[in-house]
């Protein structure tokens, strides 16, 4: 690659990265503003953060959002893993493809449709709209992504591993707990992580099924934003950004550490040949 085109490329990324992060940085900068709108920066202040921490309603909603995310992810990871096991065990290629297509429907559906259809579903079954309808909906749309994270690991696993375990005396349960689950663990963790992400980020589905009492962060921000600008929301953005940044850095270091130790082992293996 000629130097000129790679320089051009680098300039391009810098511009795009700036554009990607500008809105977020903009939000965060204004979270420290003394003023009340995002138009004039009026001196540095932490008042909005103070507002945020005293806003009991917001804090409660924040906790509710996290609760829903964690709870739904636990259930969706379990059900999704079971589903992935089922799909990978499918004897015919056709059944497998059908199951996969059905699985992916929720992933590609417009969230409006999901929201509307779940709303109809819950009201037909007379499920009260609130915490439970939100929880069930979140579990529902997280399951497909868990399946997509676990399935590749399952496919990677050579079937002779299961035969070997059986050959050595393992029952089906032991094969599952001692061989299969440990092998697919990275996929399960990735699935859990993605499930949490999808839950935290969801707006439309929650918006449809939340009824009047219960609400999550996204829905609350939507209502407040419709009413106008409140820099307290900027403070919230600041906190969430730092949180995500920490997660990314931690995740990157864990991945790197795994990779490095795996490479060291590979090198040792080569030397032994």
């Amino acid at each position: 690659m000629s130097n000129r085109s790679s320089k051009l490329g680098k300039i391009y990324i810098v511009i795009i990265f700036l554009l990607l992060y500008m809105p977020i940085l903009y939000l965060i900068i204004y979270s420290f503003s003394k003023g009340t709108t995002m138009t004039n920066f009026r001196g540095f202040s932490l008042t909005h953060y103070g507002e945020l921490f005293h806003d009991k309603r917001m804090l409660a909603i924040f906790l509710d959002t996290i609760l829903i995310a964690l709870l739904s992810s636990v259930f969706s990871t379990i059900i999704g893993t079971l589903g992935a096991l089922g799909i990978s065990n499918a004897k015919r290629e056709r059944s497998r493809q059908t199951l996969l297509s059905l699985n992916n429907i929720l992933l590609v559906s417009p969230d409006v449709i999901m929201g509307a259809s779940f709303l109809i579903f819950f009201t037909s079954l007379k499920v009260p709209l609130g915490f439970w309808s939100v929880l069930l909906s979140h579990i529902a749309f997280e399951i497909p992504i868990v399946v997509l994270m676990v399935l590749p690991r399952l496919d990677e696993m050579s079937p002779s591993l299961i035969n070997a375990a059986t050959d050595l005396g393992a029952t089906s349960g032991q094969v599952l707990s001692r061989v299969v689950l440990p092998f697919i663990q990275p996929g399960i963790i990735a699935g859990f992580f993605m499930a949490i992400t999808y839950s935290l980020d969801d707006f439309a589905v929650t918006f449809f099924v939340t009824g009047n009492g219960f609400t999550t962060l996204s829905v609350e921000i939507y209502s407040r934003a419709r009413q106008g600008i409140s820099l307290e929301i900027n403070a919230l953005a600041g906190i969430m950004f730092v949180f995500s940044l920490i997660l990314v850095i931690v995740y990157y270091f864990i991945e790197n550490h795994n990779l490095v130790s795996r490479r060291k082992k590979d090198k040792l293996g080569v030397a032994n040949q």
């Binding site: 085109s5 559906s109 969230d111 934003a225």
Partner: protein, 269 residues
Amino acid sequence: MKKSFRAMFYTPYMMWLALFVIAPVGLIVYYSFFNISHQFTFDNYATFFRSGTYLTMTANSVLYAFLITLISLLISYPMALVISKLKHRDLWILLVILPTWINLLLKAYAFIGLLSHDGLVNNLFELVGLPAQHMLFTDTSFILVASYIQIPFMILPIYNSLTDISDSYIKASHDLGATNWQTLTKIIIPMTMPGIKSGVQIVFIPSLSLFMLSRLIGGNKIITLGTAVEEHFLTTMNWGMGSTIGVVLIISMVVVMLFTNTKRKRGRN
């Protein structure tokens, strides 16, 4: 594996499939045949296909979705290309994905500030000498903001596709005399088609039904199929009509998927 053991296993997943995938779609189709007085009728469909409003709305939604997909593709592909050649590309791609973890609403909210009459963008324009623009509540800003939001979703599948291409293909191409541009257009882009199709799927379909964004950024001026569904379900309580539009959306989703699904090669295992 014993059959009874297996059955116990797969029941939760199968139940989920039945209750949350098949049933809801079925319910939407069912409700699309009922009008607001709960009578069985084809009226909803008739209204939809005869009404100029609905048809224009559909055409507009498709147009918006198309533009959004196109813009995000044009921005994302070079981005993915450059990142895939960088040294710490894993870190860079994580930094690209990081914005997706910031709540969608917050980003939309940021744009309200940025694009408002006294917002940053207009301030920059003034600095350069351009007149202040009325940006919020316009078509253009809606499309641009939506593209912005979708970029990370478009980049990721393309990036994955790019990193899957073995270096030796590029070397072979140069060895046979191709320039960088020819290698890009004749080798790299065709080989990353699955990634591109995947990205298009992930971006186009949701873009058809954006309603939150259209309300916040586009105001009540921009009406998409999404906003119409939301109104019928939550405001006018005309679930029948809402479901009809839902059916239209579902069908378009299937059509897009058929066009963009990569057929897995049928080989012997």
